[in-house]
Amino acid sequence: MAIKTDDNSLHQMLTDPSQREGGFRMLMKLYGHALYWHIRRIVIGHDDAEDVLQDTCIRVLNSIHAYRGDGSLATWLYRIATNEALQHLRRQTHLFQHIDALSDSLVEKLKAEVPLDGNELEIMFQKALLTLPTQQRIAFNLRYYDELSYEEIASITGKTVQSLKTNYHYAAQKIKNYIKEQTT
C-alpha cells in the first residue's frame, strides 16, 4: 500500500470525542488523495468523484465508532469509498439496469474529462479498463494503481484471494488485447 501510518494512535484519536475532529483531519490528510483517485477511477467524472468523496467523508465520520481496529484503517476507508462509489453508479442506472451497463456513458464521461492534448495511450488504457465488469475493474485498480495486496483487496471487496488473482490476470489479458486491437 502506498500510504502507511500508525493506525493505533490515529484510531485512538478518532475514538476519543475530544480529539475526533483533529484525528479526522489527519486521516484525510493521509488518505484523501488516495481516496479521491480510487473514487475517480470508479466514477470517472471529477464532479462525481467530488460528490462521492464528500459522501465518503461524512460516512467515515458518522461510523468511526464502528471501526474496531480489526483491519487497517486504509482498508476500512477504501471499503467505504468503494461502497459509496458503487451507490453513486447505481443511482445513475435505470430500473433493473446493472451498473456494468454504464460503461458506454462512462466512456463518454472519460472523453469529456480528458484534456485535448491528453496522452492517447493513457486514454486508451482507461477505455480498456471500462470494458471490464465494474467489480473486476475495481479489483484491478486496487491492485494496479493502489498496489494493495490481494488479502487487502479481498477485505475491501469481499471476494476470495484466489478469485481476485484469477480475475486480475484475466483483466490484464483483456486490457492487453484491447490495446493491441486498437493499435494495429
Binding site: 475532529e21 479526522f24 483531519r25 484525510m28 484523501g32 488523495h33 475517480r40 468523496l53 472519460l110
Partner: protein, 109 residues
C-alpha cells in the same frame, strides 16, 4: 508487483493538480465535520422535541383522565335529580310544612 503495462505506467489522463486536490479534500473534510456536528445537534433537538411532546401528552392524558373521573363523580352526585337537591336544602321544619301542605288550604280567588 509485476507491472504488465510499463509503457503506460500509473498515470491517469486527468490533470488535477496536487494543490487543487488538497483544497478539495480540505473542503470535503470541513463540510463533513460541520455536517456531523449539525446532524448531532439536530438529533439532540429532535430528542428534546420528542421528550417535550411525550411530557405534554402525559400531562394532557392525565388531565383528561382526571376530568373524566370528576365528571363521573358529578354524574353520580347528580343522579339524585334537582328535586332531591332542592329537598336537601330545606330545613326539617320547611320539609314538614311541605309534607303537610294540603290542597284545600290554597285560598280561593
Amino acid at each position: 508487483m509485476n507491472n504488465d503495462f510499463d509503457d503506460i505506467g500509473k498515470r491517469m489522463p486527468f490533470r488535477e493538480t496536487g494543490d487543487y486536490l488538497d483544497n478539495l479534500i480540505d473542503g470535503a473534510t470541513e463540510k463533513a465535520i460541520t455536517h456531523h456536528a449539525t446532524a448531532k445537534r439536530s438529533l439532540h433537538r429532535m430528542l428534546m422535541i420528542a421528550s417535550a411532546a411525550a411530557v405534554a401528552l402525559l400531562i394532557i392524558g392525565s388531565g383528561i383522565a382526571l376530568f373524566n373521573a370528576r365528571s363521573t363523580h358529578q354524574v353520580t352526585m347528580n343522579d339524585q335529580g334537582p328535586l332531591d337537591e332542592f329537598l336537601n336544602t330545606l330545613s326539617d321544619e320547611e320539609a314538614a310544612q311541605l309534607t303537610f301542605y294540603e290542597l284545600e288550604e290554597i285560598p280561593e280567588y
